[in-house]
Amino acid sequence: MYKTSWKSKLTSSLFVLPYLILFTIFLFIPIIYGAWMSLHNWDLLNPVHEFVGLKNYMKIFDSSSYLNNLFFEGLKHTLLFVIFSVPLLVVVGLGLALLINSLPGRLKGIFRTMYFIPYSVSVSVVAIIWLWLLDTNSGLINQYLQVLHLPIIPWLTDLPWAWVSIVIATLWWTIGFNMVIFINALNDVSEELYEAGSLDGASRWQRLIYITLPSIKPTMLFVLITSTIASFNIYGQPYLMTRGGPGTETKVLLMNIVDEAFKQRQLGNAAAMSLMMALIMIVISVVQLRITNRKE
């Protein structure tokens, strides 16, 4: 387009420079620095950080170390949440999108807004609203259960109810986003396919299975992977709703990492835990991609 003299290259580089600086300071250096921290005995209050090599990682895998328990118990709880929440986030999101799409035209926008509203509030508001609705003694839900002569449920203090509560609050909060993505995908499925299906006498259910779902497969994969990553990063809901309880049953991995870093002040251990957590997340995303691509 124009001559690429050193002068032109210089002015062009200036376009990329501001982002490159921010990228370097707030992403690139932290990645290296984090790996470096994880190789040290790094006490937040002690200015001297002793190099310990891979010892922090070995502690994670040494069953006699408290770090082993902290990491794997937290991981187990995070994985439980991922397993409970992700299928619902995908299926309910798709269900709501299908429901909205079969509504009469004028109502679509109103209902979409209604279902999407909770997405605009922050996690602390979500937690407080649901804590109050699920309160064992004064909560609205248990009050209705009593009216129906059903046993009241210890929503936040007993298993599996604590998980049920966290999953319900999460669904209520974030399902609207997945729904909107699915609505967009459904609108892109070609009408001709449906018409052909109708001519062949396909039922609604058959059209869903054989036309709709295959057409929106890339979207399903996108929602699956982003929901899995989001669920892996869960922190606010258990932190605010159950405080990790009952006992430490809902204490997720990120809560344990934060505690190790800021309560125990062992940033080296916590950095090693973070790296392991990230590695697991990457592996799971890759596996999800592989499995869904193989079916094709």
Binding site: F15, L22, P118, I129, L131, L240, A278, I282
Partner: protein, 276 residues
């Protein structure tokens, strides 16, 4: 072809599900006008027996314990400043990479896009240490700057600029415009919808973030609304549901209003960003 009856059934199901989304918000508002005493004993009574504004008065005045307005101002300021930085550096970088003769272009593109696959948790603690080292914890810098490194916007805009017809730019170059003029006069105006999408995503991400502002601030006046409310919930409001509900209502009403107004662009943005 749907019959009238099956249409009616779908609408009724839709309304029932809609109630699930709206009732919690309505219950929050209703509780915020009750006294703490009444909130505990309200049972199934939806509307307050004695309508009171004391919770709101307390939230706004209190004893300086809940500087709600300062928290809201912080959240807005941090969200807007962070978004502006992202928009400026991301549009520049994306245009440079998509169109200009930047040296090591392939390396940069690979690095930026590759960074999208790296889970955020990896940079969490080292970033904290960086800000700690420079004494910048508990400042606006720590609440704003870390979000600027995310490559999502660069990626989004890079794709857009690649698809943008070259003819318009070439015509401007022939008219004697330089790169900067082409960028600001021709390219940016055309990209307005994508930029708007990026702005909404970025703002919501910063505004609703929880863990980062929670661990990097500790003075009450530096809190964002999200973390401020959380601190009160864990602290002195732990057994004052009505006061908490007033606090959350104050935080929620502007957010919901903004959202209802802006959601069209948001939804359009989801479509345009190619997330599908």
């Amino acid at each position: 072809m749907q019959s009238k009856a099956s249409k009616a059934v779908i609408v009724i199901i839709g309304i029932l599900i809609g109630l699930i989304f709206l009732v919690p918000i309505f219950w929050m508002l209703a509780t915020s006008f009750k006294s703490d005493q009444e909130a505990f004993t309200a049972g199934l009574k939806w509307l307050p027996e004695v309508f009171t504004l004391e919770n709101y008065q307390y939230a706004f005045q209190g004893d300086g314990e809940t500087p709600v307005l300062a928290w809201m101002a912080n959240s807005l300021f941090v969200g807007i400043a962070g978004t502006l930085i992202v928009l400026i550096v991301d549009t520049l970088a994306a245009y440079g990479l998509a169109r200009l003769d930047v040296p090591f272009k392939k390396l940069f593109i690979g690095m930026f896009i590759g960074s999208l696959t790296i889970p955020w948790v990896i940079t969490f603690l080292p970033l904290y240490m960086e800000f700690n080292t420079f004494g910048l914890l508990d400042t606006y810098a720590v609440l704003i700057l870390p979000y600027s490194a995310n490559a999502f916007g660069v990626f989004l805009l890079y794709q857009y600029f690649r698809g943008f017809p070259k003819e318009l730019e070439e015509a401007a170059f022939l008219d004697g415009a330089n790169k900067w003029q082409v960028f600001t006069k021709v390219v940016l105006p055309s990209a307005r919808p994508v930029i708007w999408t990026l702005a909404i995503f970025t703002f919501m991400g910063i505004y609703n973030d929880f863990l980062w502002p929670l661990v990097t601030t500790n003075s009450p006046e530096m809190r964002t609304i999200t973390t401020g409310i959380a601190i009160m919930q864990q602290g002195s409001f732990v057994s004052s549901p009505a006061k908490l509900m007033a606090l959350t209502s104050i935080a929620t009403i502007p957010a919901v209003l903004l959202f209802v107004i802006g959601q069209r662009s948001f939804i359009k943005g989801v479509t345009q960003s190619g997330i599908k």
